[in-house]
Point group: D2
Chain length 258, copies 4
């Protein structure tokens, strides 16, 4: 196992990861989601991955399906600073709190702004985000983690990110109002430990996600991303493609010879 | 490019793909979704991938979060026959029609039955479906493809599948009642071509998905799946993990030395 | 308040409610969801509402977008027996467990079969389910209640049901594996009380939903359902309608005189 | 029918409706969603309903689960101006474009800000939004209307709004890039009519939704909202409630005597 670990450790130092906290609180220090982000980011950092976390609301982000609103309007727009970080990173992890069972407005905004660049191409002619790896982190005091994860992972997958197995992690409390992740007090009650910190399931899934993000990023890095046969919007018709296949064929199960 | 193609063609012949049509029609011949499945399956077959399609309702599948209902009840249950095919396949593609904006009952049933095995392990100790690649195909006469895709891709990702970029494809008509994919007649009107067959967007996305499924499966095949560091439920605590990381750390952006 | 209560009690005895348990277990006695259904049904029954609960899997329900599969195929199909109960009921409550964050296959099947009748009309020419009231009940050991509720309530609303405020209730445990609603044992641990029974939030929301279903049904019963101006598919063009309105008008905020 | 119409017309003049366009474009004049909003608003206005439309991004809305960010931070926050309009209105209709299959960031933001008030009470002690009626309007060039509708209608229902039958309407084009609602040009092609304007399905559903919103609001207005038995968070335990019902009872179908 040692040589594998060495190989991995070596690969890891070439990887960059970006966590974006999409909390709706302007002050990062009050964000519960940040606490779980820290645990995942810590794992990547321990393996030598260059890991940065930003708080989306530290930036003045404009609304709109544009790359830079400041160029097409008189709005201030600091999104391009974030986009630059996204483009440099091999791994992107979006963190969001849950409100009413769905992802936060800030997470939606971040995804919209990324989407505005999705028509651009990487150096192989593939969509811009090809070759990158996505994950997500969610906290709430009850219910909604899977709904948020499927929404965010799908969005990132749709614009080019690869999604490794179990690419989400979350903490949620029991149904009803209750402490948020990391709270040490709930009403008059002082909790024995910060809420969720000792949740074995959350810790396990956070660990699994973090390692899978590294494994996928490493795999893609060492293979120079995805091959470009058949997945380039400008030349898909030069490869075996849908228009050549007979949709009306009866089901058959034997592979045809090449 | 030729040598790459050769390398690929060689890898492809070792890959198996399974398409499961989750139509709610018992007769496969009347399924519109099957037509789009055929186009994707044809692409894989053209590259030498061993490709099989099954129609879920050809099997007598029982309900329940069990591996084999026939062993725990007096119900007939042919699910294990499908599960065997799933386990042999490197690529799994679920096809579903849309009803009321969401995936079909049969698709939900198929996912539930797969989920019942998700506690099992592969030969590395990872969850059973690790190392496999997932995609999905959706048709409807209007609206709901992304909702179905995010639901199905998430479910497969959650139990261990890897999801390559743009792993879904679909055809939908304009808002309102209208022809289904492949229909040549709508009311009194004879259509110029079968509905959706010439849709450039659907054909392009079907092609891109099909190739990305092959690329991801090939990548995983040639790297012997995902490494098992940190993603095995039984020994995640032996690796750098969440419990060791300080959740209360302030955000910092510089990678720590290893 | 007494006369209001009397008036209500009187109205209630004319109301019928149907609960359908969409558990994926064939044996109702083992369903956790049934326990929470019982609490809601008990409230309605205590007010004189004629309340019936059925277990969907007690019936042999075929797949397909048909009213009665036995008439168009050689399949056995007991759905029409359920449909009859649905048509007699003023209130319909669907109960579902959560699997992988979404509603159960049986819930999807039940909704599909109801949908097959949605082109039929009630005695005012409105869609069949107009004048009826919908709610839903969800249990899981963690996460997914709101996702299930939005899916099921939307489906019922879309085919004609009215949805009162807070028309869903649920119980969920903390993130991770754990007891299901009503479990008294979890692994080696004996619980102080059946899981969820004393959850104040679940009990409150179950109560609020149950009363709101009665209030809405009563309101509709006493007003003979919704008026039929503008909502009948066959004559909407005889009323003020969308085609007559100028979509390109600038926003203005003052009501025009009639 | 005339007297019913008179009765209705009379009721309508007492009703106020608010449409909030949650477009991510700062300039309302460029919003496609606004066009479909206009058609629905025109129907309500034609019946004497006091109808106002606002463009959310005309206001400077802060992020956060607070009633007024300007009171708890140094942020500017014009949300309270919108909240005041929401509280005055009997009907609230949220309009949103679709991006990546889900509702816009601005729609999420609007719902979050409404949610921050949801702990307040109306004059009966019910949650603040009880007695009000909700609907939604969605446009996109393809796919996602039902996903947006279920998300937005659920959110509004969860905080107290009543949802009448078929409370959503939408326009979507065929799968793939294409004109947006109201576009008269697509690439080099000049369209015969603005996209979607003649879509019979969209016009019908817009009409049905608009009338159902009026019917529900009228019904609630004339009945003084929902009765407060059993649905007030502060005294639900004074009415027949969940804690009094036996969850372990076997299913039975006969109504008990009062």
């Amino acid at each position: 196992m040692n040589s594998a670990i060495d190989w991995y450790a070596q690969g890891m130092t070439e990887i960059k990861a970006l966590y974006i906290n999409c909390s709706i609180k302007y002050d990062n220090k009050t964000s519960h989601t940040q606490k779980l982000i820290n645990r995942s980011a810590g794992i990547l950092r321990s393996q030598g991955v260059n890991t940065e976390t930003i708080h989306a609301l530290d930036y003045d982000i404009a609304f709109g399906m544009e790359k830079d609103l400041s160029k097409v309007s008189d709005r201030k727009d600091e999104w391009p600073l974030i986009q630059e970080k996204i483009m440099e990173a091999d791994i992107l992890v979006l963190g969001t709190p849950i409100w009413l069972g769905v992802k936060a407005s800030v997470a939606t905004l971040v995804i919209e702004r990324m989407y505005a660049y999705s028509g651009d191409r990487n150096n192989k002619g593939q969509y811009l985000y090809y070759g990158k790896t996505a994950g997500c982190i969610i906290t709430g005091n009850e219910d909604g983690a899977k709904a948020c994860a499927m929404d965010m992972l799908y969005a990132m997958s749709h614009i080019g990110y690869a999604v490794p197995p179990q690419a989400d992690c979350a903490w949620l409390g029991e149904a009803g109002p209750g402490p948020s992740y990391s709270d040490t007090q709930w009403g008059d009650e002082t909790l024995e430990a910060p809420a969720g910190y000792n949740n074995n399931f959350t810790n396990r899934n956070t660990t699994i996600m973090s390692w899978n993000l590294m494994h996928m990023a490493n795999l893609l890095k060492q293979n120079n991303g995805f091959p470009s046969e058949g997945n380039v919007a400008d030349n898909w018709q030069d490869f075996a493609n849908a228009t050549q296949q007979d949709p009306d064929e009866r089901i058959r199960s034997i592979a045809a010879p090449i």
